[in-house]
Symmetry: C2
Subunit: 142 residues, 2 copies
DNA sequence: GTTGACTCCGTAGCTGACTACAGGGTCAAC
DNA sequence: GTTGACCCTGTAGTCAGCTACGGAGTCAAC
């Protein structure tokens, strides 16, 4: 998929993605986004793919990935050879599944709480800490 | 649940929770962990509940929550009145569900990739960016 | 009762992830 | 063909979240 209609300036890209121009440059330095070729005596242009890439970076960040980890994810996106890639993908898969499992437990506790709050008054428990207690022991709920 | 056997020094707590002593003090200043009463001319002691609380903070951080957001979660844990609490819990629930949804899409793409890499050789696609494309449009896969 | 490890408190420094200039070049609309 | 908005490069500053350090006090084992 090449660049179709790369017509955005860096400022336009920033507005479209909801980030600052300086953030885009910073990401380029960090290797999260490539710098398009600059025409001699001209300025660089960006396309829709760049907007989506930035949006992905921001989304992944809010899921608890560091920029270095996001570089890894983008390496997979950009296509690497199966040999190395599937090892990396396996590791990322593991960490994603782990995050999902922990979030699911938090979700359970929160939705229980909201439901019980609707049903009764006063105080209801919200055992978030217990929900993530190390062992993933689903027995033991005294 | 009161403090049963609060026998840890701050150093012991730090070791047990896998954080630095300074981090604990920092969290106390930020309101994530309370400072136990210091006996006159003595030192503070901590218990198992503190270990679990620290572990929860670290876990929540890796799920993309800021310390301020974790303070909110801990407010729910510590018990507030239903009126205010359920509004807050509802907001948190929303953001947790959103995170889970995005992570589930990433999981799908990664596990597909790993599976296809096992089945064939060469390069396989890994459309992570597309998986989070805004609209949650599950049609349109050109 | 001394000593070595540790606590307490305050303040300063570091890292990751931006964010803000400054000074010069480019573009497009008049 | 000028002007105002914007781009480019580089470097410095900011903010969240720690991390390190200094000097005085506390504890427990000898």
């Amino acid at each position: 998929m090449p660049n179709k209609m790369n017509s955005l300036t860096i400022g336009g890209l920033a507005r479209a993605a909801g980030v600052h121009v300086e953030t885009i440059r910073y990401y380029q330095r960090r290797g999260l986004l490539s710098e398009p070729q600059r025409p001699p005596g001209g300025i660089r242009r960006y396309g829709v793919a760049d907007i989506e890439r930035l949006t992905f970076v921001k989304s992944a960040q809010s899921l608890g990935f560091s920029l270095d980890e996001i570089v890894d994810l983008l390496r997979l996106e950009d296509g690497a050879h199966c040999q190395e890639a599937s090892v990396l993908a396996g590791q990322k898969l593991q960490s994603v599944q782990d995050k999902i499992a922990r979030l699911a437990r938090i979700e359970q506790v929160l939705s229980d709480m909201v439901a019980r709050c609707q049903a009764q008054q006063g105080n209801v428990a919200c055992p978030l800490i217990a929900s993530l207690r190390t062992g993933i022991s689903e027995a033991a709920q005294t």
